[in-house]
């Protein structure tokens, strides 16, 4: 028999599962040896354990926070595995998962120039549609800090895009920010 709690959790998953799946698809790397489904299942397992802690007005942001931690743990595990296998193969540059997932080489090059923190907030804002306040909730920083970081990330990203493709992205002569 389905309890009310189970029913509410199912509704939560139906409402946000697709968004979470896309969150991981954008950041997933085959080399991580786990699938998007694995990551989603892990997030939902945590969410079920902590279901009573979910804030009613920010459930998705809370889920993003869990997803971020799950992804970080997965990458740490992959990092340990890579540290072992690196003894067997010559060292080389290892692009981040986000960069592997993005096919536009110009965009990929521009993102690669950003710091991980700038890249993270830029993707949250652009792909997941979070405003600075929501980004702040997910990242656990103040709204002011999120605004500053997001503005800086946009500026740097546009600058690097210009460097990579000056004709398509000229300097904004109006100085508009």
């Amino acid at each position: 028999m389905t309890t009310n709690r189970e029913e509410r959790f199912t509704q939560l998953v139906l409402a946000h599962g697709d968004v979470l799946s896309r969150y991981f698809a954008r950041r997933h790397r085959d080399a991580d040896a786990v699938s998007v489904d694995d990551l989603l299942a892990e997030v939902l397992a945590v969410a079920w354990r902590r279901f009573d802690d979910l804030p009613a007005d920010a459930e998705l942001l809370f889920l993003f926070g869990i997803a971020r931690n799950v992804l970080a743990n997965t990458r740490r595990r992959s990092g340990r595995r890579a540290a072992i296998t690196s003894r067997l193969r010559p060292p080389g540059p290892s692009p981040s998962a986000e960069l592997e997932a993005i096919g536009d080489l110009t965009v990929r090059a521009a993102l690669a120039e950003l710091t991980p923190t700038d890249r993270e907030i830029l993707l949250l804002a652009t792909f997941e549609g979070c405003d600075p306040t929501e980004c702040a909730t997910v990242l656990g920083i103040s709204t002011n800090a999120a605004s500053i970081r997001l503005s800086r990330a946009k500026q740097h990203f546009a600058a690097h895009l210009h460097a990579a493709d000056p004709e398509s992205f000229p300097v904004d002569v109006t100085g508009a920010m």
Binding site: L12, G17, D18, S35, A47, G103, T126, F169
Partner: protein
């Protein structure tokens, strides 16, 4: 000097256009609902060596305590133990364990005789061990199907299938969810235990996320690499946990360490079922495809019911039992191989003709009128009288060396229809033919460990 500024809008539009998730199909609500159900399923215990040692020690202590309790019970109650009357014909998983003699099936049906010796000394004294009844507890075929369905993404009504009538055999009702010719789950009550199976008739559809931004990479496909062994075990275990539900912990049975077999795009995972720390011949099996999709699965849901302690024979006695059976068979081979087995009609030296069905025994075929022995039958295939003896084929002699004797449990169906785990000696060793060529795989037989006076063996037709 002022830093140059750039148009964010164009840059962010370019970034949005590169969104690797934009080409993904939405995750269906059914699939999300399954994710939700999986998340709400109680977690399985993680395997650790420390936990394994604890479980192993606990099982050993429990097993030893059960044996000691059995011995003490025997001493206290005397010989008034129920005799286990084994069924000669059973339907289902237990059928292959119906014994031909006190030595279990595995049956020496190979034409030839066996020269059996021990490769090492075994224990010469018997002891005691419990025979354990298996029951379905509070489970039914329908409840097991309903429990498994969410774990394999199947839903629908459960119906009872029509049975094919086989004279003399009472068959259990078979229940099914899904299409018999497509994906379905089936279950039936086999003398108290619930046997179940799942089949995904066609490879399930797996949505693969886009990687590298290539739209073509976001495909809906059934192809893909085989899962890792650990992923396959996790997926397989989830199905078994669903099948057994919360009852497993109290069933008296345990799921053992899984064994995996890797295929090109799937991994087969087999879980041995243990009772009191001893291996049984119950095995739950799950075939896992790409992305952890369950391709097929089968198993048994059961709980331990009554437990009766019996005196047991030693491993030495078990080898002696199997040796005696080999000698009996050798004598039988000698008696039957002097008759050409394919001859329907034979005539002895005096010209007397008799009809023998398939050459395996005397007497007329069922339904045929008795034929006077002195009346030639209306057949043209009559062997002419001859002074030459019938052709005699020499059966090969297999040399067997028994190297190991291990206690475990075998499933048996009793004459009353109940299902029991009986303690057996599992004997294995090497075998080669008369030319010294080793046989592959090696030699293996089971001998019921319970003192023969407490086992009533049902006769069974000899089959060659």
């Amino acid at each position: 000097m002022t830093e140059p500024t750039f148009d964010h809008a164009d840059a962010l539009d370019r970034l949005r256009a590169a969104d690797p998730a934009a080409v993904l199909a939405p995750v269906s609500s059914d699939r999300l609902a399954r994710f939700a159900r999986t998340a709400m399923t109680p977690p399985t215990s993680r395997f650790t060596h420390a936990r394994y040692r604890l479980v192993a020690i606990g099982a050993s202590v429990t097993s030893a305590a059960a044996v000691m309790a059995g011995i003490l019970a025997l001493e206290a109650t005397g010989p008034a133990l129920p005799v286990l009357a084994l069924s000669s014909r059973t339907v289902g998983a237990a059928a292959s364990y119906a014994p031909a003699a006190h030595a279990m099936a595995g049956d020496m049906v190979i034409w030839g005789s066996f020269d059996i010796t021990k490769g090492q000394d075994f224990t010469a004294t018997g002891g005691g061990a419990p025979a354990v009844e298996l029951t379905s507890g509070s489970n039914s075929p329908s409840s097991v199907i309903a429990a498994i369905a969410p774990s394999v993404g199947l839903s629908g009504s459960i119906t009872q299938q029509d049975q094919v009538s086989i004279p003399g055999i009472t068959q259990s009702a078979n229940f099914i969810m899904g299409d018999p010719n497509a994906a379905n789950i089936q279950a039936s009550d086999q003398g108290g235990t619930i046997s179940w199976s799942y089949t995904a008739s066609t490879p399930p559809v797996v949505t693969t996320p886009a990687v590298g931004g290539d739209a073509a990479g976001a495909s809906t496909s059934d192809a893909g690499p085989a899962p890792s062994d650990q992923d396959a075990i996790t997926a397989a275990r989830a199905v078994l946990d669903a099948a057994n539900g919360a009852a497993l912990a109290n069933s008296g049975l345990q799921i053992g360490t899984p064994v995996t077999t890797d295929g090109s795009s799937d991994v087969s995972v087999q879980f041995p079922i243990l009772a009191g720390g001893l291996t049984t011949d119950l095995v739950d099996s799950v075939d896992v495809g790409p992305n952890g999709v369950i391709l097929s699965a089968s198993g048994t849901v059961a709980s331990v019911g009554r437990s009766v302690a019996y005196p047991t024979i030693s491993a030495d006695d078990a080898v002696a039992t199997i040796t005696a059976q080999a000698a009996a068979q050798a004598a039988q081979e000698g008696a039957t191989t002097t008759t050409a087995p394919s001859t329907q009609t034979t005539t002895d030296r005096s010209g007397t003709t008799a009809v023998s069905p398939s050459g395996v025994g005397a007497g007329a075929p069922l339904g045929a009128a008795p034929t006077p022995a002195t009346t030639p039958p209306a057949t043209t295939e009559t062997t002419a009288p001859s002074d030459s003896p019938p052709a005699v084929a020499t059966p090969p002699v297999y040399t067997v060396v028994v190297d190991h004797a291990v206690e475990q449990y075998a499933v048996n169906t009793l004459a009353d229809g109940s299902t029991w785990l009986l303690p057996v000696w599992n004997l294995d060793g090497t075998s080669n033919n008369g030319a010294g060529t080793p046989q592959t795989p090696g030699w293996e037989r089971q001998v019921i460990e319970i003192d023969p006076q407490y086992v009533n063996l049902a006769p069974r037709a000899i089959t060659y």
